[in-house]
């Protein structure tokens, strides 16, 4: 009985109120979280609803394997191949540049740089993410294209490489920040053990820390590339947008995103062209979704 008495002094309504408050807050937060899922679902449904009619008007095979994109021709052709290779070329190029640089910078920040330097560098890098993509595009159109033209002796610097370089820079904040988090999550005992075994710092970084953070880094790279493949404005401005099937980074290419952005305003609502652009959008959505899902799966693996 005496043990129970202090509890009587706790105002019952207060405890209940707090529990109720908590449940209320949980409910509100849960609702907000599910809103984003609902939005995603609605976008997906809308995309499919506008994309599917395309395949009643145009053969799926001709869409997926067609090598010509001539949407406003008297004989319109909606071939995905030049757009898909364009996106692929630009994305792979960006990855080739961004992955070594991004992971290198992350290694430097987490393993090498003194704390004060890191605290200066990291916000600077994150600021790259705040620059609007149209500014990157303008830089690519006016400055980078001249450099590329001179460096490779080209007729025009508006090509896939230009887009790749810009996108690599744009994806760096994501890749560096997340890779660095992954590296710092590696317990210090690993490093200490490695050093105690007589390994040098360099050996420790490349044979112990980096492998331990591998799945987190791969996820960081994939999220960075997810941004790259969906980026529109900068590539629209600097890749030249020639809808040709090419596997050279020095050629002009046309990405899926640039196609949708450039042509959506003009095409009559409900036309084959309109639905074709939604079909391209659905393909993009699927690719981005797969990349993000893969990144997520790898992150989970890393956590476990």
């Amino acid at each position: 009985m005496t043990r129970l008495s202090p509890r009587r002094h706790v105002p019952v309504w207060g405890r209940q109120g707090r529990a109720g408050e908590e449940r209320g807050a949980e409910w509100v937060l849960g609702f907000l979280a599910s809103l984003s899922l609902v939005a995603l679902g609605l976008i997906f449904v809308f995309l499919l609803r506008e994309a599917l009619p395309f395949f009643n008007l145009y053969a799926v095979g001709a869409f997926l394997t067609g090598r010509e994109w001539q949407p406003v021709s008297t004989n319109p052709r909606f071939g995905l191949v030049p757009l898909a290779t364009g996106s692929l070329l630009v994305t792979v190029g960006a990855a080739v540049i961004a992955v070594p640089v991004g992971v290198g910078v992350a290694l430097f920040l987490s393993e090498v740089a003194p704390r004060r330097l890191r605290e200066m560098l990291k916000p600077g890098l994150e600021l790259l993410a705040a620059i609007p993509s149209v500014v990157y595009g303008f830089f690519g159109l006016v400055v980078l294209s001249r450099w590329l033209q001179a460096a490779f002796g080209l007729n025009s610097g508006l090509n896939a490489l230009n887009g790749s370089i810009l996108l690599a820079v744009m994806s760096l904040p994501t890749i560096v920040t997340l890779s660095e988090d992954a590296l710092r999550a590696v317990p210090d005992t690993y490093r200490a053990a490695s050093l105690a075994m007589g390994a040098s710092r360099l050996e420790t970084i490349f044979h112990v820390t980096l492998p331990a953070a591998r799945s987190g880094i791969v996820a960081a790279v994939m999220l960075g590339l997810g941004r790259v493949i969906g980026e529109t404005m900068a590539v629209l401005m600097v890749t030249g947008n020639a809808a040709q099937v090419s596997f050279s980074w020095l050629d002009s290419v046309r990405t899926m995103t640039a196609t949708v952005a450039a042509e959506m305003a003009e095409c009559p609502w409900g036309s084959t062209h309109y639905h074709a652009l939604f079909a391209v959008g659905a393909v993009l959505f699927a690719v981005t979704f797969l990349i993000n899902a893969a990144a997520d799966a790898l992150l989970r693996k890393g956590v476990r």
């Binding site: 001539q70 406003v72 030049p82 508006l158 030249g240 809808a243 450039a262 042509e263 095409c267 009559p268």
Partner: protein
């Protein structure tokens, strides 16, 4: 006048409160009466202020600078009218006209049958007003020795049949075609007017703006592109065009377009859905006035002959 309206509103409110009868709600009624008088006073004030009309114009990117210059001069002369001008392409303008989000559509091409039908479906007849002429200037890099082309050669270059400058009397050098995006009225005009509706070469670069075509051709020795006459700069070189092989090549100019000797020229339109409203008609009349057509010339377009 303002005050008298305000007082009358208050009086009406008073009557209502007496009819309301319940003493307990007196305060609420007084608040209500106060609010009503304030609202009516506001309406009275607005009614006495000069009427503010708006005119929304959308469409052709080619015409957006010209249209903005007209709008600016028009608003100076008519302070009570707000004119807003937006680009986006001729198709965007027609789309806005069909949806009713614009009063007038700028167009660098005639209306398509499908667009005209969409307006008729809303019970209105599209009305075209020719307000200026445009000439597409064919531009190359200043280092290019080619001075003139005929329409057949131009079409062959744009469709990708001819891919080296030496085939049209120039140096042995590849050709890089710079075109506008397919949403541009100029893209459609060149396709119809020059290329006989054949497709652009797959390797043609589709640039998002006239400025980016200028930028690209100025940088590229192999480049050829097209721009509106008003956008020619010294960074690029204009090419003289002959109507037929062996014909006299004509450089684009206001005179050459006005006397119809320059082959790559076209009328520019303002479209309205049905007869234009009073303010829209006033604006179109202004565009065609002496002052308006002077602006047309200043902006590098060609005035409508006989005005």
């Amino acid at each position: 006048m303002i005050r008298s309206r305000g007082r009358r509103a208050g009086g009406n409110g008073g009557v209502a409160s007496r009819r309301g009868g319940r003493a307990g709600s007196a305060l609420r009624v007084v608040t209500f009466v106060g609010l009503v008088s304030v609202v009516l006073l506001g309406v009275g004030l607005a009614g006495c202020a000069p009427k503010h009309e708006t005119l929304v114009i959308r469409g052709s990117d080619t015409m957006v600078n010209l249209s903005a210059a007209w709008a600016e001069a028009f608003m100076k002369a008519n302070r009570s009218v707000d004119v807003s001008v937006q680009g986006g392409g001729s198709s965007t303008g027609f789309k806005a006209l069909i949806e009713g989000t614009a009063d007038l559509a700028n167009a660098s091409r005639p209306i398509k049958d499908s667009e005209a039908k969409a307006i008729r479906d809303k019970g209105k007849e599209p009305v075209a007003h020719v307000v200026a002429y445009d000439a597409v200037t064919i531009i190359v890099n200043p280092s290019n020795t080619v001075q003139h082309l005929d329409m057949t050669q131009l079409a062959a270059i744009l469709t990708g049949q001819v891919t080296n400058w030496k085939d049209v009397g120039g140096p042995d050098r590849a050709i890089t075609v710079y075109s506008r995006e397919s949403s541009s009225g100029t893209y459609a005009f060149v396709k119809e007017h020059v290329m006989g509706n054949k497709d652009y070469s797959a390797s043609a670069r589709l640039m998002p703006s006239t400025e980016s075509i200028l930028q690209a051709v100025a940088q590229d020795q192999t480049g050829i592109g097209y721009i509106g006459l008003g956008y020619l700069t010294s960074a690029v070189k204009a090419i003289a065009i002959a109507e037929k092989p062996g014909g006299t090549p004509i450089l684009p100019s206001a005179e050459a377009v006005g006397n119809r000797t320059y082959p790559v020229a076209r009328p520019l339109f303002i479209y309205s859905a049905g007869q234009p409203s009073a303010v829209a008609k006033k604006f179109i009349d202004f565009c065609l006035s002496k002052e308006g057509q002077r602006i047309t010339g200043e902006m590098g377009f060609v005035p409508v002959p006989g005005r």
